[in-house]
C-alpha cells in the first residue's frame, strides 16, 4: 500500500485538503458536546433561556459546518481515490501491454487479469475508506483526549484504562481473526477448485462412475470451509459485545467518579455529560478502525500483487537506434539460435540455423514438445534468443522496433483468438485501413466466405467475447483471413489448420499458394500431408534440427522424418 502511495502524488493538494476538512469536521463534532455542556452548566443551572437559545443557534452552525466539511471530504476523497485507481489501472494496463510473452508466462494471464481489475479496485476502495474514516480516528482520538483532559485531568484517567483496553481487545481479535480469514479464503478456493474440476470433468467422472467419490471430495472441502467459517465468526462474535461492554462500563465509571468530583466541586455537571460524549467519540473512532481490519490485509495483498506488475520490467525493449532493413525483403534467417524458457532445465531450441526465402514455403514438422512453436515465436520476437541471432530482412530482430518488425509478419496462432466486434472488424484487425474488397478477398482465400454468408448479418455479424459463437474451424479461418489482409512479407502459420477438416484444409492450402506466392511462408504442422510439397522441410526433434530438405530427400536422409511419415502414411503413400 505504501509503495503505491506514490501514485497519490498528483493529488497531494487534494489529500491535504481532505486532511484539513477531516480536522475541521472532527473539531466541529467534538465541540457539539462542549456547547451542550455550556447549555447545562450556564443555561440550565442559571435558568437562562436566552442563553440556551443562543448556544443552540451556535450548535446548529457548528453542525452545519461539520456537515459541509464532511461533504467536502466525501467529494475530495471520491475524486482522489477514483483518480488514484484510474491512474494505477492505466499504468498497470500499459505496463502489461508492454510485456513480452515471457512475462505473461511467468506471471500468468489469469492473475494478470485479476490484478488489473479486482486488485486495483480493492486498493481503490480501501483508499476511500482510509481517507474518509481512518484518518479521522487519530485526529478524533487526539482532539477528544485534549478536550477530555482540559475538562478534567483526573477523570481522564478512566480513559487511560478503557482506551488501551479497547485497543487491546481489537488488536487481539484481529490477530486471531485475520489469519483465519486468510485460511478461509484458501479453503473457499479449494472448494471452488473441486467444484470446477467436477464441472470440467463431468463426462469423465460419470464415465468412470466416480460421482460418489467427487461428492465425498466436495463434502470434505465443504465441511472444512464451514468449520473455519464458524470459527472465524465465533471469534468475531466476541468483538461487539466486548466493545459495547467496555464503552458502557466507561460511561458508568464516568458517572460514578464524575459524580464524586462534582460533589466535591471539581467538575460541573454539564462537563461530565460532555466528558461521556468525548469518551464515546474516541472509542467509536477506534471501533471504526477495527471495522476495517479485514479490509486492510486484503487490500495489502492486492497492493503487493499490483506492485509486482509495476516492478516487472518488460524484457523485450525497442533498440534506442533502430536499424533499417538492408537485406532481402522477407528473408528469415536463424543463425545458431539457442533458446530456453525461464526456469526450464533444458533449452527449448538449441543451435538452430536455417534460412527461409521469399516465394518459398518452409515447413516445420516435429512431435509435440519438439520446439516448433518456440521456433516461430522467435520470429515476431515474442521472446529473445539466449544466443545466436534471428534475422528478418537481413536485420537482427533485436535491432528493429517491434512495431516495424511485426508489421512485416502475418501471424496465425495455434489457438485462434478473436475479439469482440464484427467479423469484418476482426479481419481488419490485421490492417486497419483495409477496404471492404480487401476484407472480402482475404475471407475468400481463407475459405471463410461460405460460413460468413450463411450468417444473418454476413460480415457485420457480431463475434461474442472469446469467439464463442463460431466454431473452432471458423475461428481458425477468420484468424487466417486476418493475417492475409495484411499482405505481409512473412507468413507464419502455427499449426493453424488443425481444426479444419481435411477437405477445407486442402482447398485452403490451394488458395493460399497463389495468395502467398511472393511471400516467405513458414508453416508449423504435425501433418505430413501439409509439408510434403514444401520447398524446405525442417524436422525438429527435442529442440534440435534433425534434418532439413525436401520430402523425398528427407525420406532417405532423416530417420526421424521417416518415422513421422510412416506413422501417418501407408507404404504406398510414402513413395
Amino acid at each position: 500500500m505504501i509503495k503505491l502511495s506514490r501514485f497519490l502524488k498528483p493529488y497531494r493538494a487534494a489529500v491535504a485538503a481532505v486532511l484539513g476538512f477531516v480536522f475541521l469536521q472532527t473539531i466541529a463534532e467534538l465541540s457539539l458536546p462542549t456547547l451542550m455542556a455550556d447549555i447545562i452548566n450556564t443555561g440550565v443551572m442559571k435558568g437562562d433561556t436566552n442563553y440556551i437559545w443562543h448556544v443552540g443557534g451556535r450548535m446548529l452552525l457548528v453542525a452545519g459546518g461539520s456537515a459541509i466539511a464532511a461533504v467536502l471530504v466525501s467529494y475530495l476523497s471520491a475524486r482522489v481515490a477514483s483518480g488514484f485507481g484510474r491512474d494505477l489501472r492505466g499504468r498497470v494496463f500499459s505496463r502489461v501491454e508492454s510485456f513480452s510473452l515471457h512475462e505473461f508466462d511467468k506471471i500468468g494471464t489469469a492473475t494478470l487479469i485479476t490484478r488489473t481489475t479486482n486488485d486495483i479496485t480493492q486498493v481503490q476502495m480501501v483508499t476511500v475508506m482510509i481517507l474518509r474514516m481512518m484518518v479521522m480516528a487519530p485526529i478524533m482520538a487526539i482532539g477528544g483526549t485534549i478536550l477530555a483532559v482540559s475538562r478534567d485531568g483526573s477523570l481522564s484517567l478512566i480513559l487511560v484504562v478503557s482506551v488501551p483496553l479497547l485497543a487491546g481487545v481489537i488488536a487481539l481479535l484481529a490477530s486471531r481473526a485475520i489469519p483465519l480469514f486468510t485460511l478461509m479464503q484458501t479453503k473457499l478456493d479449494k472448494l471452488n477448485r473441486v467444484l470446477r474440476e467436477g464441472l470440467t470433468g463431468i463426462r469423465v467422472i460419470r464415465a468412470f462412475d466416480r460421482v460418489d467419490y467427487e461428492r465425498r471430495r466436495f463434502e470434505e472441502a465443504n465441511r472444512d470451509l464451514t468449520a473455519t467459517a464458524i470459527r472465524v465468526n465465533r471469534i468475531l462474535a466476541i468483538l461487539f459485545p466486548v466493545l459495547m461492554l467496555t464503552m458502557n462500563f466507561t460511561s458508568i465509571a464516568i458517572v460514578w467518579f464524575g459524580g464524586i468530583r462534582i460533589d466535591n466541586g471539581h467538575l460541573a455537571i454539564g462537563d461530565m455529560m460532555a466528558f461521556i460524549q468525548y469518551a464515546m467519540q474516541i472509542m467509536f473512532s477506534l471501533v471504526m478502525v477495527s471495522m476495517m481490519f479485514v479490509m486492510i490485509p486484503r487490500a495489502e495483498a492486492s497492493a503487493v500483487r499490483v506492485n509486482q506488475i509495476l516492478e516487472t520490467a518488460p524484457e523485450i525493449n525497442d533498440p534506442s537506434r533502430p536499424a533499417s532493413a538492408t537485406g532481402q525483403r522477407g528473408r528469415v534467417e536463424f543463425k545458431d539460435v539457442t533458446f530456453g524458457y525461464a526456469g526450464a532445465e533444458q533449452p527449448a531450441l538449441s543451435h538452430i540455423s536455417f534460412r527461409a526465402e521469399p516465394g518459398q514455403v518452409t515447413a516445420v514438422i516435429g512431435g509435440t514438445g519438439s520446439g516448433k512453436t518456440s521456433l516461430i515465436s522467435l520470429i515476431p520476437r515474442f521472446y529473445d534468443v539466449d544466443s545466436g541471432q534471428v534475422l528478418v530482412d537481413g536485420v537482427d530482430v533485436r535491432e528493429m522496433t517491434q512495431e516495424e518488425l511485426r508489421a512485416k509478419i502475418g501471424f496465425v496462432p495455434q489457438k485462434a483468438v478473436l475479439f469482440t466486434g464484427t467479423i469484418a472488424d476482426n479481419i481488419r484487425y490485421g490492417k486497419e485501413t483495409a477496404t471492404d474488397e480487401e476484407v472480402r478477398r482475404a475471407a475468400e482465400v481463407a475459405q471463410a466466405t461460405e460460413f460468413i454468408s450463411g450468417m444473418k448479418d454476413g460480415y457485420d455479424s457480431e463475434i461474442a467475447q472469446g469467439g464463442t459463437n463460431v466454431s473452432g474451424g471458423q475461428k481458425q479461418r477468420l484468424s487466417i483471413a486476418r493475417a492475409l489482409v495484411r499482405k505481409p512479407e512473412v507468413y507464419v502459420f502455427d499449426d493453424s489448420f488443425s481444426a479444419l477438416d481435411f477437405k477445407t484444409d486442402s482447398r485452403l492450402r490451394h488458395a493460399l499458394r497463389k495468395e502467398t506466392a511472393d511471400a516467405t511462408v513458414l508453416i508449423v504442422t504435425q501433418r505430413v500431408s501439409t509439408v510434403m510439397d514444401a520447398d524446405q522441410i525442417i524436422v525438429l526433434d527435442e529442440g534440435k534440427i534433425a534434418g532439413i530438405g525436401r520430402h523425398k530427400e528427407l525420406l532417405t536422409t532423416c530417420p526421424v522424418y521417416r518415422e513421422i511419415v510412416s506413422s501417418q502414411l501407408s507404404e504406398e503413400e510414402m513413395a
Binding site: 467436477g198 501471424f411 493460399l512
Partner: protein
C-alpha cells in the same frame, strides 16, 4: 451514553460491517467473494444499500423455501431471536436508568447549592443504580455474544447444507443441463449466491430483529420521557427518510453506470490479455491502451460520482441527527429550567434520539440486502428445481459378466427438439469387435458415444448391451462396463498416481504401474523428479498435452472395461508418439468391444468395421479397403487427407 454504541455497533450508515457486495467484507460474515461473476469491482461497504437491489421473481415462495432450510434449526433460532430481543431491550433501558443517576446527582448538587440543610448526593442510590446498570450491560453483552455465537453455527451449517444439496443435485442433472450453461454461471451459484445467503444469515437476520426492537423500544422510552421531545425527534425522521431515498436513487443510477463500465473494462482487459500474442503480433498495443484509457476515464467519471453521492449520505444523516440533537438539547434544557423534565432524562433522551435514526436507515439497508439475498437464494433454488435425469430403475438389471455386445435399435436422437440429429440408427457390434467411426465434424460421432454411455436419453428406439436395454440398468453399472478416453484430457489437481487410480477405486500400486506401462506412460512418469508422486497443477500444465493423454489412457486401461471408447483419444499427441501409444492400445483393445472415433484416418485403417457418418446417419460401412474400393464419401475423405496441397487426389 450506554446505548449509543448499540446503534453504531450495528453499523452506522456507511462504515458498519454490512455484508455489502464486494470487497467491503466486514467481520462476521461469509467468506470473501470469488472474483468470478458479475461485478468483481462491486461497491465498497457503502454499496450495500446503494447497489440497485435485484429482485427475486417469486419473493414469497423463495422465502418460504429458505425458511424450510432453517427448519431443523428452529430451537437455535428461537434462542437467537430471544437473545437478540433481550440483549437489545437491556441495552435500550440503559440510558434511562443512567439518566436517573445523573438526575439524583444533579438534585443533590442543586440542593447543596441551595444550601438545603442536610443536602448531600445520595451515593447509595446512585451506587445501586450503577450496579443495576452494570448487571444489565453484562447480561446484554452476554446475550449478544451467545446470540452471535449460535448464529455462526446456524448460518454456516445452513449454508453447508445448501452447498451440499446443490452439489448433489448437480450430480443428478443430465449433461444437457451443463451444455447450455457456462461453468462460471454454475460456479457462481454455488459460491457467490450461497455466500450471499451466508452473510445475510450471519448478520442480516439478527440485525433486522435488533433494529426493529431498537426502533420500537427507543420510541417507547422516548415517549415515557417526554412526548414533546419525542415529537421534535420524530420530526427529523421524514427528513432522514427523504434524504436517504433521494440519495439512494441517484447513487443507484451512478452505481449502475459504474457497474456497466466495470463490465466493459473487465471485458477489454480479459480480451487483450488472453489475446496478448495477437495484440503484439499485429502491433495493436497502442490502440489497445488507448481504448483502455477511454473506458478507464469513463469509469473514473462514474466511480467518483457513485462514491461521492453515496458518501454524502453519512454526513447528511449525521447533520439531520445533529439538528435533532441541538433541538433536544435546547428544548430539553429549557424544560429543565421550567422543571417540566429532569436533567437525567434529557441526557437519556439525547442518547435515544442519537440512536433512533440509525436503525431506520439500517432497516432500509437490510431490507435491500435481504431482497438481493432472496434473489440469490432463488437462483440457487432454480438449480435445485432443474429436471433431473431419469432415476435408475429399481430393481435394476445386472449384467453379471459383461461381454460387450452392443446394439443400437432404431435409435432417434436430437439435442434440440426441432433439429433431428440421429434418425433410425441401427448398429450391431459383437463382443471383441472394433468399430471405427469417422466423419466430418458435427456428423454425430461423439453423440453416438454419449448415447451409449447414457449421458443423453434416446428419443426413440433402444440401445442394448448384452441384450439388456441400458435404461434398465443402473447408470453406474453401465458405465463401469465401459472405459473412455476422450480428446479432452481431464485430469485433476493431485498426484499422477491418484489420477491413474481414478480409473478404478481401490487399485493397487502394481496395477497402476502396469496400466501406466501398457499406456507407455511409465517411462516419462519415472523421468519426472517426483515420479508417480508428481502433483499435477491446476491446469496440469507441468506435463505436455501428449503426456496428459497417456495418463488418461492409463486410467482407462486400469478400469479394464468390457467396452472401450476412444473418442479422438490420440488427436493431441503427435503421430510418432501415437504409434507408440497404439501399440499399447492394441494390447488394451484385445478381447473388448472397441469404439474408436477418429479424425485422423490413418489411425483407424486396421479397424474391423468402419462406420462413415454424416449428418447423423451412417452412410457407408465396411473395412478400409472395401470403402476405398467403393470410392464414395470415405474414399473422398481419405484421399483429401493425403492429398498434395492444391490437388485433391491421392498421392502415389
Amino acid at each position: 451514553m450506554s446505548t449509543e454504541q448499540r446503534g453504531q455497533q450495528n453499523g452506522g450508515a456507511g462504515a458498519g460491517p454490512r455484508p455489502g457486495a464486494g470487497p467491503g467484507a466486514g467481520p462476521g460474515f461469509g467468506p470473501g467473494r470469488d472474483p468470478g461473476r458479475g461485478g468483481p469491482m462491486g461497491g465498497g461497504p457503502h454499496a450495500g444499500m446503494m447497489m440497485p437491489g435485484e429482485k427475486a421473481k417469486d419473493t414469497r415462495g423463495t422465502l418460504r423455501r429458505l425458511v424450510v432450510y432453517l427448519q431443523p434449526r428452529r430451537p437455535q433460532l428461537s434462542v437467537i431471536i430471544g437473545m437478540a430481543v433481550l440483549s437489545t431491550i437491556f441495552s435500550i433501558v440503559g440510558p434511562k436508568i443512567l439518566g436517573k443517576a445523573t438526575t439524583k446527582l444533579f438534585e443533590g448538587i442543586v440542593a447543596k447549592m441551595m444550601r438545603v440543610p442536610g443536602a448531600h448526593v445520595d451515593y447509595t442510590y446512585i451506587g445501586r443504580i450503577i450496579l443495576l446498570l452494570a448487571g444489565l450491560y453484562l447480561l446484554s453483552a452476554l446475550f449478544s455474544y451467545i446470540q452471535q455465537y449460535i448464529m455462526a453455527g446456524v448460518a454456516q451449517n445452513t449454508v453447508f447444507d445448501m452447498r451440499r444439496d446443490v452439489e448433489a443435485k448437480l450430480a443428478r442433472l443430465p449433461l444437457k443441463y451443463f451444455d447450455s450453461r457456462t461453468h462460471g454461471e454454475i460456479l457462481s451459484r454455488v459460491t457467490n449466491d450461497i455466500d450471499m445467503v451466508s452473510s445475510t444469515l450471519q448478520q442480516g437476520v439478527t440485525q433486522l430483529i435488533t433494529s426493529a426492537v431498537t426502533i420500537v423500544g427507543v420510541l417507547i422510552m422516548m415517549l415515557t420521557i417526554s412526548p414533546l421531545l419525542t415529537l421534535i425527534a420524530v420530526v427529523t425522521l421524514p427528513l432522514s427518510f427523504v434524504a436517504t431515498m433521494a440519495i439512494a436513487k441517484r447513487s443507484q443510477r451512478y452505481f449502475g453506470t459504474q457497474q456497466k463500465t466495470i463490465g466493459e473494462l473487465n471485458g477489454h482487459v480479459e480480451e487483450m490479455y488472453t489475446g496478448h500474442a495477437i495484440v503484439k503480433a499485429f502491433g495493436r498495443e497502442k490502440r489497445s491502451v488507448a481504448e483502455f484509457g477511454a473506458i478507464n476515464d469513463r469509469l473514473y467519471d462514474a466511480a467518483w460520482r457513485a462514491q461521492f453521492v453515496s458518501g454524502i449520505l453519512f454526513p447528511l444523516m449525521n447533520f439531520i441527527n445533529n439538528i435533532g440533537y441541538v433541538f433536544v438539547s435546547v428544548v430539553g434544557g429549557i424544560m429543565v429550567t421550567k422543571r417540566t423534565i429532569e436533567i437525567g432524562d434529557v441526557q437519556a433522551f439525547i442518547q435515544y434520539s442519537r440512536q433512533f435514526s440509525q436503525p431506520i436507515v439500517q432497516t432500509a439497508n437490510i431490507v435491500n440486502i435481504i431482497q438481493s439475498t432472496i434473489a440469490a437464494a432463488e437462483r440457487v433454488f432454480e438449480v435445485l428445481d432443474e429436471a433431473e435425469q431419469i432415476p435408475d430403475p429399481v430393481p435394476a438389471k445386472v449384467v453379471k459378466e459383461p461381454k460387450g455386445d452392443v446394439r443400437f435399435d432404431h435409435v432417434d436422437f436430437s439435442y434440440k427438439p426441432d433439429v433431428p440429429l440421429i434418425e433410425d440408427m441401427n448398429l450391431e457390434v459383437k463382443p471383441g469387435e472394433s468399430i471405427a467411426i469417422v466423419g466430418p465434424t458435427g456428423a454425430g460421432k461423439t453423440t453416438l458415444v454419449n448415447l451409449l454411455m447414457r449421458f443423453y436419453e434416446v428419443r426413440d428406439g433402444r440401445i442394448t448391451v448384452d441384450g439388456v436395454d441400458i435404461r434398465n440398468m443402473k447408470r453406474g453399472d453401465l458405465r463401469r462396463m465401459t472405459g473412455m478416453v476422450l480428446q479432452d484430457t481431464w485430469l485433476f489437481n493431485g498426484t499422477i498416481r491418484d489420477n491413474i487410480a481414478y480409473g478404478r477405486e481401490g487399485a493397487t500400486e502394481e496395477e497402476i504401474v502396469q496400466a501406466a506401462k501398457a499406456a507407455r506412460a511409465d517411462r516419462f512418469i519415472r523421468s519426472l523428479p517426483e515420479g508417480y508422486d508428481t502433483v499435477l497443477n491446476e491446469e496440469a500444465s507441468n506435463i505436455s498435452q501428449g503426456q496428459k493423454q497417456l495418463l488418461t489412457i492409463a486410467r482407462a486401461i486400469l478400469a479394464d472395461p468390457a467396452i472401450l471408447i476412444l473418442d479422438e483419444a490420440t488427436s493431441n499427441v503427435d503421430t510418432r508418439t501415437e504409434v507408440l501409444i497404439q501399440r499399447g492400445m492394441r494390447e488394451l483393445m484385445k478381447g473388448r468391444t472397441n469404439f474408436v472415433i477418429a479424425h485422423r484416418l490413418s489411425t483407424i485403417r486396421d479397424a474391423g468395421l468402419i462406420l462413415v457418418m454424416n449428418n447423423g446417419r451412417v452412410i457407408e460401412q465396411g473395412t478400409h479397403h472395401e470403402l476405398l474400393a467403393k470410392n464414395g464419401f470415405y474414399a473422398d475423405l481419405y484421399n483429401s487427407q493425403f492429398a498434395k496441397a492444391g490437388t485433391v487426389e491421392a498421392v502415389g
